[in-house]
């Protein structure tokens, strides 16, 4: 396996890079695959089939200047920042690998730092708390396994921004399963030390050197998919948002039906479910205070 230290902290670029290796890159038969090591600017990364509106508070994310990105693997929402190290393994397979095939060596590597690390299903736990969440995608004979590793992440932001499902929303989307978390950085370990330990453990075949064409292709994919509202919010499965004042049905992030205070609100029909778009329309329909309350009920 070769390694690539991703020089970008843009989640859209990093997710596009994963997709490039999973879907487009031609691994030769004797190629052991690639390991990507990357860190993201503060962001929330949701699972492929999650409802962004259900997993996070759009208003809270806006206040904290946090963007949402949809990844290609399953599972729930995770928080990324520069104190979190992400590892991605992409390779061909003949016999489908399981989580343990990837996570056991990672846990062993962490143990060599004196960390109590135990694999439990899709997670690595330390002293009963999650330090690494993992997910996978299988496509065209290749596997993408990726995981987070909480080193010095801002756990305050993590708990504020994730793990609070909005129970006014009903959908068939995949739900997150919050679990108590902890950083491993308290043991004096840095993300840089961990990177080099990952390389030593997994990347015997050396460094992968991307060419300009490949980087251009990945950037194009990042811009046309992972950086778009249509992918990150619009791919949310159909849902219904309902409380005492508001009833909204949305599909692909577009309002199909809206009623406020029991009255059909035609002006919202067909609108993208965005804070900005709704704010403009509600301001035309209601006094400023009422518009603000309705906006908060929909997006808080």
């Amino acid at each position: 396996m070769r390694y690539y230290l991703v020089p970008s902290s843009d989640p859209a670029f990093c997710l596009a890079l994963e997709e490039y290796f999973l879907s487009s890159y031609d691994f030769k038969n004797d190629d052991g695959g690639i390991m990507l090591l990357w860190k993201s600017s503060p962001s929330i990364i949701i699972g492929k089939f999650q409802n962004a509106y259900e997993e996070v508070s759009p208003l809270n994310c806006m206040r904290h200047n946090i963007c949402i990105y949809r990844r290609n693997t399953g599972g729930g929402a995770v928080y990324h920042d520069m104190g979190n190290l992400n590892f991605s393994f992409i390779r061909r397979y003949t016999e489908q690998p399981g989580y343990n095939d990837f996570l056991s060596p990672v846990a062993s590597m962490l143990s060599s730092f004196g960390i109590d690390a135990e694999v439990r299903d899709t997670m690595i736990l330390s002293e009963g708390k999650k330090i690494s969440g993992n997910a996978e995608a299988f496509s065209c004979g290749k596997v993408l396994h990726h995981g987070t590793l909480l080193v010095n992440a801002d756990l305050g932001e993590l708990s504020l921004l994730t793990g609070h499902r909005r129970d006014i929303i009903r959908s068939k989307a995949i739900k997150s399963n919050p679990y108590p978390v902890k950083n491993i950085g308290k043991a004096g370990i840095t993300t840089e030390e961990l990177k080099y330990s990952f390389i030593k453990q997994f990347a015997q075949e050396g460094e992968f050197l991307p060419n300009e064409d490949m980087l251009h292709e990945v950037s194009t994919l990042a811009n046309s998919k992972y950086d778009t509202w249509e992918w990150n919010w619009g791919r949310s499965p159909a849902f219904c948002l309902e409380n005492d004042h508001v009833f909204i049905e949305a599909r692909n992030g577009i309002t199909e039906h809206a009623a406020i205070f029991g009255d059909e609100t035609e002006a919202l029909k067909g609108q993208k479910l965005t804070i900005e778009g709704y704010k403009d329309i509600l301001s035309d329909l209601y006094d400023p205070r009422t518009a603000e309350i309705i906006l908060s009920e929909i997006f808080e």
Binding site: G47, K48, F49, G74, Y99, A135, A137, K172, I174, P237
Partner: protein
Amino acid sequence: MEKYVKLPEISKKKEKAILCEWCATPGDIIHSGELLCVIEVNKVTEEIYAEYDMEILCLLIEEGDEVAFGENIAKVRNV
């Protein structure tokens, strides 16, 4: 000839998956090797491909619904 497509047994540990996305609708002709649907099981997304050329007659599982491995997911006709 009309027949049923079953969800292949992918996971040895789990009995069911969520059918998250259909990549075909009734009336579509899907060729062998083309993507039929995407499922999720235990945080894994997995693509399910057509094993032969077929016309989709009816989808038996809605997106977001749970489906057991081996269960019928679509009614199709050989083409």
